[in-house]
């Protein structure tokens, strides 16, 4: 399928994502303007506050966006899953350029002009409104322009908190090794950034002194004001509708199902979602949340359940050193989640998604490699690429390399997990740590090396569910019991492959898979 065909097929979805993206950018920029400009003005009046507040704004801008999302999710009013959290984060990033340029612009007004204004008997408010703001306007608008262009970029990450936008295509494209998706996400985002840059640049020019002298200026000005107002109204409408869709929690049998940001998690979430819907339960889907955000959201009561792996819960969240006994891991996770997070762990779904140490099939056959131990001598000539997750977690690279005495040519590259598959396929690296149920393993002719020293802890798939949800939704216990032991590793690989390689919609793949099972 070429890009053009892709666009024709996905036109509606793409437009929705562009709309969401634009809405997030405009709303957040608008809020940042409403907060930032008065703050900047205040700082020109209160010199003592200037450095502390600019310092805080500076620091806020350096917070990584995923960390900020994680921090925001549990907060009342500001947090949660979806557009609101994304907007708060975007506002945080947009504040610095707006505040700073307001301060710079106003303090930069010609000293003679300000003195004349005071000496003419203008009050401070009059000087601000009639002299300082008009003269600083083009500098202030530069700040707004910078903020907006930053927002267009950061908004792509908003997909990680379920806020939608073009990041959905970009993340999905990375995950599925799909250039059409990547392009369809990145191209409109880039165009949007250019358009924001250009249109605010025009407005800026209008407010500059050169712009003022030109005749016939009223039309251009009126047109840009009308455009801004119309766009703001559309954006407000969009957010209002988004807000309505988001009203969760009040309904009796509504269940919020979340997933992490990879295909398998989405499929597992969709399986439970459709099973619940088949029993008449209303489901609210909050898929593709980044990092550990689903955990934060579960604890904060923003979601009811999401698929997880026992090993991940055991090491990454409960922070225990890795162990290899599946039974012990499951029991410990079940007990601690009940005590600490008031959450239940469903029966295992029947398959494990452990780390799969992968090499190219050609290399494996040429060197006759079957186990990780056999690859250790080769590794001295190899480069490795690992996802951020694997590089940092207790049962990841540090322990793994020690257990096998592995050494590579240089420090392994740390990159997005999806990208490691691409890097391995294109000979950029020679060994990666993928997932054992990854659908592309066969498709890309990769070979999984056996964990012959049984280093990796068990990663049984389960659902983590808030205990109070069981009381609210009696059907849930039955659904989870039915899904126990119902998916094999091969089956999971096939489902993943249907989505990742055959580009089919997860909902459709799940519907097919559930059909015979629901009938019984």
């Amino acid at each position: 399928m070429n890009f053009w065909q892709f666009l024709q097929q996905n036109w509606n979805e793409l437009l929705t994502l562009v709309g969401q993206h634009l809405t997030l950018v405009l709303i957040s920029t608008l809020i940042a303007v409403v907060i930032g400009i008065p703050t900047g003005i205040l700082l020109t009046r209160k010199k003592a506050l200037r450095n502390p507040i600019l310092g805080i704004a500076n620091v806020m801008q350096t917070i990584p966006s995923l960390a900020l999302f994680g921090f925001l999710i549990p907060l009342p009013f500001l947090g949660g899953i979806g557009a609101r959290t994304a907007i708060v984060a975007l506002v945080v990033y947009a504040l610095l350029p707006i505040i700073r340029n307001t301060v710079t612009g106003i303090l930069g007004v010609d000293h003679n002009v300000r003195e004349a204004a005071v000496a003419m008997g203008m009050t401070d408010t009059q000087i601000l409104k009639q002299v300082e703001i008009p003269l600083a306007m083009s500098v202030i608008l530069t700040g707004v322009r910078v903020a907006m262009v930053i927002s267009v970029g950061v908004t792509t990450i908003a997909a990680a908190v379920g806020a939608g936008g073009l990041g959905v295509y970009i993340f999905r494209g990375l995950r599925q090794y799909d250039n059409n998706l990547l392009l369809a996400g990145a191209l409109p985002a880039a165009l949007m950034a250019l358009a924001a840059d250009f249109s605010l640049g025009l407005l800026e020019k209008h407010f500059s002194l050169e712009g003022r002298v030109k005749k016939h200026r009223r039309w251009g000005f009126t047109a840009s004001i009308v455009a801004v107002v119309v766009i703001a109204m559309l954006a407000a409408l969009g957010i209002w509708r988004a807000g309505r869709g988001q009203a969760t929690g009040e309904a009796g049998s509504r269940v919020v199902v979340a997933s992490k940001d990879f295909t398998e998690s989405i499929l597992l979430a969709e399986i439970v979602a459709q099973s619940l819907e088949a029993r008449g339960v209303t489901v609210d889907r909050q898929y593709e949340l980044g990092g550990n955000l689903p955990h934060d959201a579960l604890v904060a009561g923003r979601i009811d359940l999401y698929p997880e792996y026992t090993g991940t819960a055991y090491t990454a969240i409960l922070r225990h050193p890795p162990i290899t006994d599946p039974r012990a891991v499951y029991d410990q996770v079940k007990r601690e989640y009940g005590e600490r997070f008031n959450a239940e762990v469903s029966p295992p779904l029947g398959f494990e998604n452990t780390f799969a140490i992968l090499v190219r099939g050609a290399d494996a056959r040429r060197l006759n490699l079957k186990t990780i131990s056999e690859a250790v001598p080769q590794a001295r000539k190899w480069r490795a690429g690992f996802g951020q997750d694997f590089m940092t977690r207790a049962d990841g690279y540090p322990g793994f390399s020690k257990a096998y005495g592995l050494k590579f040519v240089d420090q392994p590259r740390e990159m997005d997990l999806s990208l490691t598959y691409i890097a391995l396929a294109s000979n950029k690296v020679d060994l990666i740590a993928g997932n054992s149920t990854e659908g592309r393993i066969a498709a890309l002719d990769f070979v999984q090396l056996t964990d012959d020293r049984r280093y990796f802890p068990p990663y049984e798939a389960v659902y983590l569910v808030r205990k109070d949800t069981f009381k609210r939704v009696p059907q849930l216990g039955e659904v989870l019991a039915k899904l126990a032991n119902s998916i094999s590793t091969e089956e999971m690989r096939r489902l993943n492959y249907e989505v990742d390689a055959n580009k089919r919609a997860p909902a459709e793949v799940v519907r097919e898979w559930l059909q015979p099972r629901l009938a019984t």
Binding site: D110, E115, A116, V118, M120, G121, V131
Partner: protein, 260 residues
């Protein structure tokens, strides 16, 4: 209040002005009366305190000792906004608002005082004509479209707009070429005479002081060292005055007047 009309328009009583950052006061023990209708020129080199003296009058500064009276009232008793709107102020480079047209610049104080639109419009045209600018041609221009001399004329028009009894001028013609300056000086003399304005004019140019002032106050290192009519100033034996008069001789020998 009738008594107020008989008193000096501006009076300095033993005024000093100091800032903590500087060891010596900027202004020391200034006693000075400015009579209605006169043009007092404050003459002195940079940093002698003449600009500070001006700013004490319209309450841009408050004295650290003594008091400054305007129309018989200490500036500390005045509402600063009211005081400033009754005091025209002209500075070097005019300090015009670059984003206002000439007409809006001139109309500034009247519109702050909420005059009605037609009265403001009439006044702007009257003033532009008075300072020698054709309203038809210049009213809708922006300051950056004017020459330095034209900008300075607009500055004077702006200061006169709300008919203030007092004009403060801080080296208004300092940045202009000699011919434009001479022309503006002539107009200024005619204007203040015709309108009966009281003016306090700061300059470092002796010839300007002699040409414009009904009295010249010579300042040095924060003190008023001489206060005389131009004729008496020319014959003064005071050392700083003599130093100034020496420069006059040099300038006469130099036909370009380049150092002026």
């Amino acid at each position: 209040m009738s008594e107020a009309n008989n008193t000096a328009l501006v009076e300095f009583r033993d005024v000093s002005y100091a800032v903590p950052a500087l060891p010596a006061p900027i202004l020391s023990d200034l006693d000075l009366k400015v009579e209605r209708g006169e043009t007092l020129v404050l003459l002195g080199e940079s940093g002698c305190g003449k600009t500070t003296t001006l700013k004490l009058i319209n309450r841009l500064y408050l004295p650290t000792a003594g008091e400054v009276l305007v129309e018989g009232r200490p500036t500390t008793d005045w509402d600063p906004i009211q005081l400033r709107r009754r005091t025209g102020y002209v500075i070097q480079d005019a300090g015009l608002f670059p984003h206002f047209t000439v007409a809006r610049n001139v109309a500034l104080v009247p519109s702050l005082e909420n005059w009605d639109a037609s009265r403001i419009n009439d006044r702007v045209r009257e003033l532009l004509s008075l300072v020698g600018l054709d309203p038809e041609k210049y009213a809708e221009r922006y300051p950056r479209e004017l020459s330095g001399g034209q900008r300075q004329r607009v500055g004077v028009a702006r200061a006169l707009a709300a008919e203030p009894p007092l004009l403060l001028l801080d080296e208004p013609f300092g940045a202009l070429d000699p011919l434009t300056r001479a022309s503006l000086q002539r107009q200024f003399v005619a204007l203040t005479r015709r309108l009966g304005k009281t003016a306090i004019f700061v300059t470092h140019d002796l010839r300007e002081a002699l040409r414009l002032g009904s009295r010249i106050g010579l300042m040095h290192a924060g003190r008023l060292v001489l206060l005389e009519t131009p004729d008496n100033f020319l014959n003064s034996e005071e050392e700083h005055a003599r130093a100034y008069l020496e420069t006059l001789k040099l300038q006469v020998e130099d036909p370009d007047g380049g150092s002026a």
